[in-house]
């Protein structure tokens, strides 16, 4: 079933069992933004193993372990158990394409998460859904949220496709200001070089928002990025800013970007 389509293997730490068909083709397994390759030897009850396909700082830090695997040869099928050690990350399995592949997912397998081959429209709908669903959530600086858990992996994996929508939605103030502010926090905090330029531009644009919460979050995001190229935009924002408290905080961001002391000295 659904060979060639990614299937949700597990959410968070909850393991789920999958019965997969005979194949010696490599499978792709996504844990958040991390791609792993699973390889198996035909039907024999040999262990599947996981091989990291691309360097990833989360794994290098030793915090993320390879997904557990359990394989057992069983009358033409292999039972595979895989789950994420990373709280908040879903595991996706991308079944190998080609003839002779069967793929049986348990009925309770959901479809939440970021599928690797979503179309542009599906991706935008997904992110929009995430941002709208977070409207009732309470956000606190430094703490994960549904926005951080869902948005950061999307940007890491689909940054080119999602940039335009995020400009439209966040800079265009289409959503709830608290949710937009939360998204801006994380867009500033994330370390992802390929999207760095447009994330900075987006944060600069959001300095012009009508919402004070959004303007503050944009300033925080730019402070986190610490990119001196934002100096003209922050300067202009200070000139425009009507709230004295926020203006003072933006002046500190400016000082940091210009390499001057500005924040409290410890």
């Amino acid at each position: 079933v659904n060979a060639g389509r990614p299937q949700l293997a597990s959410q968070g730490r909850k393991p789920q069992e999958f019965r997969v068909g005979d194949s010696d083709t490599a499978w792709e397994c996504f844990v958040g933004s991390v791609r792993w390759t699973l390889k198996g030897d035909t039907l024999s009850p040999k262990f599947w193993f996981v091989q990291q396909a691309a360097p990833d700082p989360l794994h290098e830090s030793g915090e993320a372990k390879p997904p557990d695997q359990l394989a057992q040869g069983q009358q033409g099928t292999i039972q595979l158990q895989v789950y994420s050690e990373l709280p908040g990350f879903d595991v996706w399995l991308n079944a190998p394409r080609g003839p002779g592949v069967s793929w049986e997912a348990p009925a309770e397998a959901g479809t939440r998460g970021v599928q690797p081959d979503r179309s542009q429209e599906e991706l935008e709908q997904y992110v929009r859904g995430v941002l709208e669903a977070a409207r009732e959530e309470y956000f606190a600086d430094g703490m994960e949220s549904s926005v951080s858990r869902e948005l950061v992996p999307v940007v890491e994996r689909h940054h080119k496709q999602i940039a335009e929508f995020l400009f439209y939605w966040l800079a265009g103030e289409k959503g709830d200001p608290e949710v937009t502010a939360e998204a801006l926090h994380w867009l500033g905090l994330m370390d992802h070089a390929p999207s760095r330029h447009w994330r900075r531009r987006l944060l600069e644009r959001c300095l012009e928002a009508s919402s004070l919460t959004v303007r503050d979050a944009a300033g925080i995001g730019l402070a986190a990025m610490d990119d001196p190229q934002a100096v003209p935009s922050v300067n202009a924002a200070i000139e425009r800013e009507s709230c004295a408290e926020l203006r003072q905080l933006l002046e500190r961001v400016l000082a940091q970007l210009e390499g001057r002391p500005g924040w409290r000295c410890f």
């Binding site: 700082p57 989360l58 830090s61 915090e63 993320a64 990373l86 309470y138 956000f139 606190a140 600086d141 430094g142 703490m143 994960e144 951080s148 608290e178 502010a181 926090h185 994380w186 500033g188 905090l189 370390d191 004070l212 919460t213 503050d216 979050a217 925080i220 402070a223 986190a224 610490d226 009507s242 709230c243 004295a244 408290e245 926020l246 905080l249 500190r252 961001v253 940091q256 924040w263 409290r264 410890f266």
Partner: protein, 172 residues
């Protein structure tokens, strides 16, 4: 206790000018209450010396409980405000991985009623000093805390630990 520190979940909810048009004098915006009272109804604060010499360690201790090296906003207010509000302080360990800071400076408020909590929040809002530590400073503070052995790197959440490791590698 000279000064008390309470972290703010989101500073923009405290920006007076955004709400000054309707807020009665001496009052505080309702969301500020949420910043003071946790899910169990407890009010957790940190004692800070008059000369603020322990402030870096207190900030690092609180930042060490978080999931990202994000901005850290806080309000510092006169410890006298607690008794004025009708509550009292009691020593109680916090949930920071810095055990020394936890034991020495973390406090819970006892005898907290809704009105007393509101009075305390109003006092902190009107007379307290709000300040912000940037994400970059938080990383520096946590690195220093690890170097001074106030904290262990392994005590930190994955995202924070990763950020510290990357920053340390860049510096090296």
């Amino acid at each position: 206790v000279a000064l008390l520190l309470r972290k703010l979940d989101r500073r923009s909810r405290w920006m007076a000018e955004a709400i000054a048009t309707w807020l009665p004098h001496g009052d505080a915006p309702a969301p500020a209450l949420h910043d003071f009272i946790d899910e169990q109804g407890k009010v957790s604060v940190w004692a800070v010396a008059e000369d603020q010499s322990n402030l870096p360690r207190v900030v690092a201790a609180i930042a060490a409980t978080r999931e990202s090296a994000d901005v850290f906003d806080f309000v510092l207010f006169d410890g006298q405000a607690v008794s004025t509000a009708g509550a009292r302080l009691e020593a109680a360990p916090g949930n920071s991985p810095d055990r020394v800071a936890d034991q020495e400076w973390h406090r819970n408020l006892a005898n907290v009623s809704a009105q007393r909590a509101a009075r305390l929040v109003c006092a902190a809002f009107v007379n307290g000093e709000r300040d912000r530590t940037s994400p970059k400073q938080i990383v520096e503070l946590l690195l220093e805390a690890v170097n001074r052995r106030w904290l262990k790197l392994d005590d930190l959440k994955a995202g924070v630990k990763e950020k510290l490791q990357r920053t340390a590698a860049e510096k090296a």
